[in-house]
Symmetry: none
Subunit: 192 residues, 4 copies
C-alpha cells in the first residue's frame, strides 16, 4: 500500500470514526454533515466523495459496527467447545465489548430504533451463522428449550444489552459478579 492509498483509507476511516463519536453523543439529527467534516478535519466535499450522502454514511457505519460487534462476540468461537462454554464465551464477550465501547451500543440502539433510517437491513446472514448453529445444536441435543434460534438469541442477549444500558445510566454496576450472575440467569432461561 502506498502513501496515497493509506491517506485515502485513513480519511474515510476518520470520517466514520468521527461520525460514530458525534452521533452517539449528539444523535443523528443533531449531527450535521458539516460538523462531521470539521471534526474529522476534512472538507464537506470530500465526505461526499467517499459516501453518496448522509444516509449512506450512516448505513456504512451501521454495517461496520454491527459486524464488528458480532465478531467481537464470536472471538475465539469454535465448535470444538461445548455448548455451555460457547454460550458463556459469547455472553461475556458481548458484555465486555459493550462496556469497553460505549459509543457502539448507543449508535446501534439509535439506528435500530429510528423509523426514519430503516432503509437498510444489511445482510448479516453469514455473521450470525454461528449463533444459529449454536442454538440449533442446543435444541437438537435437548439442552435448550425448543424455540427458534432468533427467540433463543433474544432470551439470551436482550438482558445483557439492557443491563449494559443500566450500567452507563448509573443504575447498576456491571462488575464481574453481576456479569456472571446475569449470564447464568440467561443460561437458565433457555436451558431445558
Amino acid at each position: 500500500m502506498n502513501a496515497k492509498n493509506k491517506e485515502v483509507i485513513d480519511k474515510r476511516k476518520a470520517i466514520l470514526k468521527t461520525t460514530l463519536d458525534l452521533i452517539s453523543e449528539r444523535g443523528f439529527h443533531n449531527t450535521p454533515m458539516s460538523l462531521i467534516a470539521k471534526t474529522a478535519g476534512v472538507s464537506t466535499g470530500i465526505v461526499y466523495h467517499y459516501f453518496s450522502g448522509k444516509e449512506e454514511l450512516i448505513n456504512e457505519l451501521y454495517k461496520e459496527i454491527k459486524l464488528e460487534t458480532f465478531q467481537a462476540m464470536l472471538a475465539d468461537y469454535s465448535e470444538d467447545f461445548s455448548l455451555n462454554e460457547r454460550f458463556f464465551d459469547i455472553w461475556h464477550n458481548y458484555v465486555r465489548y459493550s462496556l469497553n465501547h460505549p459509543t457502539r451500543g448507543l449508535f446501534l440502539e439509535q439506528f435500530e430504533n429510528s423509523p426514519y433510517l430503516k432503509h437498510l437491513e444489511g445482510d448479516f446472514t453469514q455473521a450470525v451463522a454461528p449463533f444459529f448453529s449454536l442454538f440449533q445444536q442446543g435444541v437438537e441435543q435437548g439442552v435448550f428449550i425448543p424455540l427458534s434460534p432468533i427467540v433463543l438469541f433474544d432470551l439470551s442477549f436482550a438482558p445483557a444489552a439492557a443491563l449494559v444500558k443500566r450500567h452507563f445510566a448509573g443504575y447498576v454496576e456491571m462488575d464481574d459478579e453481576l456479569i456472571k450472575a446475569a449470564a447464568n440467569a440467561c443460561w437458565n432461561a433457555i436451558k431445558t
Copy 2:
C-alpha cells in the same frame, strides 16, 4: 364538563395522539410541528399554546405513555396473588399491551435511545413501586436469585420487549404458545 372544556381537552389530546402516531412512524426529526398541527387539524400556534415547544410536547407524551405502560402491566395487580401469578400476569399484560399498541413501544424506544432528548428523566418512583415490591419479596422468600430489583426487572422484561420488536419486524410470530414459552423462560432466568 361543559362543551368548551371538552373541546379544549380534546384539542390537547388530539395533539398528543397525533404526535405519537407521527413520531412512531416517521421519527422525531422527521416529524415537523407543522405536520403535527396539520394532521391533528389545528393551527401551529395552538400547539404552542398547550406546549411550550417541541421538546415539552414530546416530554409530556413520554411521561403519559410511560406511565400508561406501567399501569397496563400492573392491571389487576394485587399482593394477594402469589409471586408466580403476579409475575406471569405482568409479563402477559406487558406483551399483550405492546402487541395491541405498536406505536407506544416504537415511541418509547426512540425516546429512550435519543441522546438529544435526555432532558427529562421523569419521576416514576411511585409507578414502579409494585415491581420493586414483587422482586424484593421474591428474593426475601428465596424464590428469586439474590439480585437487585432493577436487574431482575431487566432479566424478566428485556426479552419480552425484544421479542415484540421481532414480532413487528416480521421475524417471529408472537402467538400464545410463544408468549407462554418465553414467559416461562424469563421466570426460569430469575428463579432460584
Copy 3:
C-alpha cells in the same frame, strides 16, 4: 365619575403606562401585545377594545407623551417673563422632566427614529405655539440671531436631549452645575 367609568379609564391608562414601560425597556418589536396585556393585568382582547391595534396604541402613547413633554417644558410659562427668563425656565424644565422620566425620552427617541412608525405626525401646532412665539419675539427684538423658530428650537434643545442621553448612558453626570453651564451655552448659541 362613577366606579364603572373610573375602572374603564384606569384600564386604558394601565395599558398605556405598561406599554411605555415595556417599550422603553425592550423596544417596539420586542414588545408583543400579549406581553402588554399580561403585564397590565388585562386580557389581550380588551386591548383591542380600547385601541384598534398595536399601531394606534403606540401612536396614542406618542401623542400623550409628546404633549406631556411640551407641557412640562412650558409649566409656569408666561409671556410676562423676559425672554431670558422664559428660555432658561423652558430649558431647565425640559432637562428636569427628562431626568425624572427616563422612559419618556427613550420611547420618544425610538418612535421618532423608526421609519416603520412614521404613520403619524400628530398635530402639535397649538402645543408648540409658545416656543414659536418666544423665538419669534427674540428675533424681532434683536436678541436672537435671525433664524427660523424651528432652527432656534433645535439649536437650543438638541444639546439638552443629547446630554440627557449621555447622562443615562453613564458618560456624564447631569448635576446642577452642568445643567446651568449647558443652558448658558445654548443661550449663547442663539443670542446675537
Copy 4:
C-alpha cells in the same frame, strides 16, 4: 486579488450595503433576512456564512458606518490648523456627509435608540481621539468653556444632527447660508 476573492468580498459588501438601504428605509424589524438576501441577490444561507446572524450583521454594519462617519468628519483634519478652522471643518464635513448619505444617519439613529440592540458598544476610542484633542486644547487655551470634551462635542454637533433630520423631514432647507449660521451658533455655544 483574483476573481474569486473579489467576488467573495463583493458578496459580503453587497449584503452590508443592502442591509443599510433596507433598514434605513424600513426599520430593523421590518427588514427580514430573506429580504436582505433577495435584494442583495444572494441566497439566505450565504448571509449566515458571512455573519453569524442578524445581530452580528447589524453590529458589523454599525461599526463600519460609525467609523466611516467619524472619518468623514475628520477628513483633512490636522493639528496644524487653528482651533477655529478645525472646528468648522469638522462641522461642515459632518453636515455635508450627512446630507450626502441620508441612509447612514437614519441607520445610526435607529441603532443607537434601539434598546433591543444594545449588545455592542464598539470601540471607537481611537477614532474619536482627535475630537477629544481638539476640545481639550480649546479648553486649555481658554478658547472653549471649561466642560468635558464629550459635553462640548454634544453642544457642538447635536444641533447639526437635529437640523439634518429637519432637512430630510422637509421642515428646513439646509442651504449654505443656514449651515454657516448654524455652525457659527454652535461655535458661539462653546466659546468663552
